[in-house]
């Protein structure tokens, strides 16, 4: 990552302090880049003002693509490319295509969702994950603020974070 992004990283000991800090920081017109916690913190999404994930829409799109592909595949194979009579049914016997259609729907929907999640989480092969503070996987809650996206200076941000209960404030460059 050569973009050289600068982040102010606040470290918090306690989830309730983090929750109130998020409220306070957002209250003073600061955009929070992201929070990292060792475990899911109830209500954090609401405090951060996240909109609901749109992954379900992606899942539906992948799913319906799977249905269409499966039926096209079977209709082409069984009806056009090499017509076969199986069990005395028509070449294109829709009811007997349903189980395969269903399975491909589920498969593409699941794989597509996992893939989408990997892409938006930057979890790709050789991708270098941004670790703001390694302790967020252990016992610390981490709040990252993108300097470029805020008009406030890093000193001001430091003061706000300190004020809202951060036990430690670092600067991180990617």
């Amino acid at each position: 990552m050569e973009s050289g992004k600068n982040f102010i990283v606040g470290i918090f000991d306690d989830e309730s302090v983090l929750l109130s800090a998020v409220k306070k920081v957002r209250g003073s017109d600061v955009k929070i880049h992201e929070c990292y916690t060792p475990y899911p913190v109830h209500g954090l999404d609401d405090e951060l003002g996240y909109k609901r994930s749109r992954i379900s829409i992606a899942a539906f799109m992948f799913g319906i693509t799977g249905t269409c592909l499966a039926f096209l595949m079977m209709i082409y194979m069984m009806g056009i490319d090499w017509p076969m009579i199986i069990g005395g049914k028509d070449h294109i016997a829709i009811p007997s295509f349903v189980p395969v259609g269903f399975e491909v729907t589920v498969l593409l929907s699941a794989l597509g969702m996992v893939g989408t999640f990997f892409v938006i989480s930057n979890l790709k092969p050789y991708g270098k994950p941004r670790i703001y503070d390694i302790r967020s996987t252990d016992d610390k809650h981490v709040m990252a603020i993108d300097l470029a996206k805020n008009s406030k200076s890093s000193d001001e941000l430091n003061a706000i974070l300190k004020d809202s209960g951060a036990v430690e404030i670092n600067e991180k460059k990617f």
Partner: protein, 455 residues
């Protein structure tokens, strides 16, 4: 917490009474039309029969071996012709009334039974989310004694019209109508055992329901966790009994109408249909009560979960439906396919066949898929009403072709009777609901229900 009690207002009663009168008028009109149509078509009937004869003549030459099978399938029709004089075969419109009584009876008995099943499931799984609305499905059980009376009455008056196997001559080797297949089922399908089973189902269901309700009401007065564990035990017992009897009652009351036909999926199929119906009814009543200012404790998260329940079990019903259809379609065994041929080759039933799928699968599946539609009362009401109507058609499709053969109809008679039954059921359930507190306030998990949060 203040005690909340549902008040069955005289205004609501009046609305229901007006609806009932509308239903009775529609039913009367429908019956009148059906009976006059019957008379004017008397000549037509003879012609139809003649056509049938010609067709079977054609078959005789071509498929000598199949003829034996064919005879079995057409046994019912032959019987009517052969024993017409002896039994003074009921006119078509009367059969239609019996068939409809049976459809509605099955539908609402299932609703009552599955209401109790819902309660039992909640206690056995120690579910917290539903604690606040548990009294609504519990009130459905009040219909069970009425269900027993209706089932017995319809069976005794219309049994011969609805159930072909109740005719004695089928079991008499010397009778020309002797049916070896049905005779082979006599060990299970005979009137005394059938009635005994029916009574046992209802009595045990009702007693278990009474027991559950008694303990739940005692919990309201005394509180404490002991009632919860007691209820869990009773519910587990109920579910074990239900597991067997939901299948056997489906065989008895619905599957045996098509006596020759059988399907190992059928018990599950009827259960699935009943279960979706009950879930939709619970959701609809909860939403309506909430809109009228009751059940403040039930939050959007709980409604969302009810919506998910209806959504999930609509898919489950479709899965069972398809499993039954697909295997029969694919294996193509005449004994089995006859059931679907009967429903798909007739113009009348084939419409219902696809309407059934659209109302019970495609509609709830597509409308309930987005999260928001399960959280808005408007969508909840629309979908549950559609599902309730759809599953009525499901029972219509299970019962009518077996009873009426190709002469089934749908009109004012059906609509009127369904309304009358629906009003009667609501009357019984709501009266029951108004007798005890609406919220089980001492349920140990009532707090969990109050703060239930769904993403």
């Amino acid at each position: 917490m203040a005690e909340e009690k549902f008040e069955f207002t005289s205004k609501a009663k009046k609305t229901l009474s007006i609806l009932a009168i509308v239903g009775i008028v529609l039913f009367g009109l429908g019956t009148y039309f059906a009976s006059t149509a019957d008379h004017s078509e008397e000549g037509g009937h003879a012609e139809e029969m003649h056509d049938g004869a010609i067709m079977s003549d054609g078959n005789d030459g071509a498929h000598v071996t199949e003829d034996a099978d064919q005879d079995h399938f057409e046994g019912a029709e032959h019987t009517e012709a052969g024993h017409g004089g002896e039994h003074a075969g009921n006119p078509s419109w009367l059969k239609r009334i019996y068939a409809n009584l049976w459809i509605n009876n099955m539908y609402f008995v299932g609703l009552a039974l599955l209401g109790v099943f819902f309660v039992a499931i909640q206690y056995v799984t120690q579910a917290g989310w539903s604690a606040a609305l548990i009294r609504i499905p519990m009130s459905f059980g009040n219909w069970l004694p009425i269900g027993l009376i209706l089932t017995l009455a319809i069976f005794f008056f219309g049994g011969h019209d609805i159930f072909h196997w109740t005719h004695d001559y089928l079991y008499d080797v010397n009778d020309p109508e002797y049916d070896s297949i049905i005779a082979g089922k006599q060990g299970y399908l005979n009137t005394p055992f059938f009635v005994a089973r029916m009574v046992v189902y209802f009595v045990v269901w009702f007693l278990m329901f009474r027991w559950i309700r008694k303990k739940s009401l005692e919990e309201d007065l005394n509180g404490g966790e002991s009632y919860f564990f007691k209820l869990r035990g009773i519910s587990a017992g109920f579910i074990v009994f239900f597991a067997v009897t939901s299948s056997t009652s489906a065989w008895d009351w619905v599957l045996s109408i098509d006596t020759h036909w059988f399907s190992t999926m059928f018990g599950w199929y009827v259960f699935a249909s009943w279960w979706v119906t009950a879930l939709a009814a619970i959701t609809l009543i909860t939403v309506i009560l909430k809109e009228n200012g009751y059940l403040k404790i039930v939050n959007t998260g709980v409604l969302h979960d009810l919506g998910k329940f209806v959504f999930a079990f609509s898919i489950f019903w479709t899965y069972i439906w398809f499993s039954q259809f697909m295997l029969i379609y694919y294996s193509n065994i005449p004994e089995e396919t006859v059931y679907f041929i009967e429903r798909l080759s007739s113009d009348h039933y084939s419409i219902v066949f696809f309407v059934n799928l659209i109302l019970n699968f495609f509609f709830p599946f597509l409308v309930f898929m987005p999260r928001d539609s399960k959280r808005h009362t408007v969508f909840l009401k629309i979908v549950t009403i559609i599902v309730l109507i759809g599953h009525w058609f499901d029972f219509y499709l299970m019962v009518t072709p077996g009873v009426m053969k190709e002469n089934g109809g749908f009109g004012l008679l059906e609509i009127g009777m369904a309304i009358v039954f629906g009003v009667a059921f609501l009357f019984v359930a709501l009266t029951g609901l108004s007798k005890y507190p609406l919220v089980a306030k001492n349920h140990p998990m009532i707090k969990e229900a109050e703060h239930h949060h769904v993403f």
